[in-house]
Amino acid sequence: MPAFYRLVSKDILINQSFKFLWIPFLVMLLNTGCSSNTTQPTPNLIPSQEESTVQINQSKPKESGIIEEQEQQPSQNDIAQDEEVDDFEEFDEFEEEFGDAEENQVWDPLGGYNRVMTSFNDVLLLWILEPVAKCYRWILPEFIRRGIANMFTNILYPVRLVNNLLQLKFKNAGEETIRFVTNSTVGILGFWDPAKEWGGFEAHDEDFGQTLGFYGVGPGPHFVLPFFGPRNLRDALSMYPDTYYFDPKTEYVEGIERQVAVFVLENVNKTSFRIGEYESLKRDAIDFYPFLRDSYEQMRQKEIEE
């Protein structure tokens, strides 16, 4: 009976039947990625506004009275702008550098859901995760928590190896291997990090989302996950191959309860080094959800470019 149970457990269900479920999504994302690339190189709003008013004029000549009124308003602004031209010459240059804020908006068709999920995660973090992490920090000395964090990093070596290789970063893959061998042995199962401290070899974080980005897959819509926080569709789906194929914890930790326990430990431990940072970020924001969303997307873009 236990053998039978094991057969129908996660290995079969997830690794076999749903093995290729995420591929169609990727194809979809590839398409959106391409289309967004083609629309991007037109960041200038002003000509497009003109175009649109021209179009209106052509298509609805009978309502021209209303349109004239509409057109008068911007022209008043133009006069106001002319008076302050000196002030704005340098301004324009920077408007260009940062792009038009409205056009640069992250694609967010799930905005309503995302906001709700952000609040859910917010409550979870502030009322459960952080208080627990504070106690945890009070109980365990720093070097033990640091060691645990190192072990978690070390065990994710396959994720980094595969993704570095997929992105043709062979030097990084080599360094990762040196790190893994050294830290697993001399560093006692990764508790210490002699490869970095003595050899200067840094970890090279890469995940499957970055790999996809490397090959031109677009981010897709922004998508906030419960417990995990902000993602986009590409990165959310990428968690699947990363966790189920490359993360040894999935293979060796048996049973959903244990996996949850490990997940909780990993995150409490991680949070114990970051207490206060989230609140500080939150206070920086005028509107927290778009702030988080944009920061996430900008950060990911940078990580992919590297």
Binding site: N77, A80, Q81, E84, F88, F91, D92, F94, E95, F98, A101, E102, N104, Q105, V106, R137, E142, R146, A149, N150, T153, E202, F273, I275, G276, E277, E279, S280, R283, D284, A285, I286, D287, P290, F291, D294, S295, Q298, M299, Q301, K302, E303, E305
Partner: protein, 200 residues
């Protein structure tokens, strides 16, 4: 032809070292200020307000806070606001940027700041620094532009996230369905906060 050769030679001989000087200068400013700021944080004998004042005094000369505030708001909203509103906004937002900066410093524990290089990016200079913690390395880029008062910071990029950029899209989103007064209210309401502990 002679003229062109002369110009090229001129450009090669003169412009490079000039710019190189600027690069070195700007990098120097950043390195020096970082040292001062970190020393000030580490000096536990200073009380909060003296400490904050000292840090702001170090940073203000090469931060163009007002310009940052303008670009964050964006040209469209800036032009539409009345002069009094603009002043009010500048006051509030500059104060907020400074407070946010000071607050980030409270999270500082034992990190090391390494100033890597100053790089020319078109007509700007980017100074690339790294905040090195025990388990992480965070890239911070200070972006400078040339003004009448010398080279000044107009944006900071942390891990690829530009501060100005995030405020720009927040403001533009906020002002889509709310008024400028609402924005001022929002900036006012959030200036009182207690600082979290940065012990690791």
């Amino acid at each position: 032809m002679k003229k062109i050769t002369f110009l090229i030679v001129f450009a090669l001989v003169f412009s490079r070292p000039l710019f190189a000087d600027d690069l070195a200068d700007v990098k120097n400013i950043v390195s020096k200020s970082i040292v001062i700021v970190i020393d000030t944080i580490k000096n536990k004998s200073l009380d909060r307000s003296t400490r904050d004042k000292k840090i702001i005094d170090t940073v203000v000369p090469f931060f163009d806070f007002e310009f940052m505030a303008k670009v964050c708001l964006g040209k469209k909203h800036w032009t539409e606001a009345s002069p009094e509103k603009r002043d009010q906004y500048l006051d509030l937002f500059v104060k907020r940027l400074q407070e946010s900066y000071l607050e980030k410093l409270d999270l500082y524990t034992d990190e090391e700041v390494v100033v890597d290089e100053a790089k020319k990016e078109k007509n700007r200079i980017h100074v690339i620094t790294h905040l090195v913690t025990k388990d992480d390395k965070m890239e911070m880029i200070y972006k400078f532009r040339e003004t009448d008062n010398g080279w000044l910071v107009y944006d900071i990029e942390i891990l690829g996230v530009s501060i100005v950029q995030t405020y720009r899209s927040q403001f533009s989103g906020f002002l889509k369905d709310k008024s400028f007064d609402d924005l001022l209210e929002n900036l006012k309401s959030s200036d009182a906060f207690k600082v979290p502990t940065g012990d690791k």
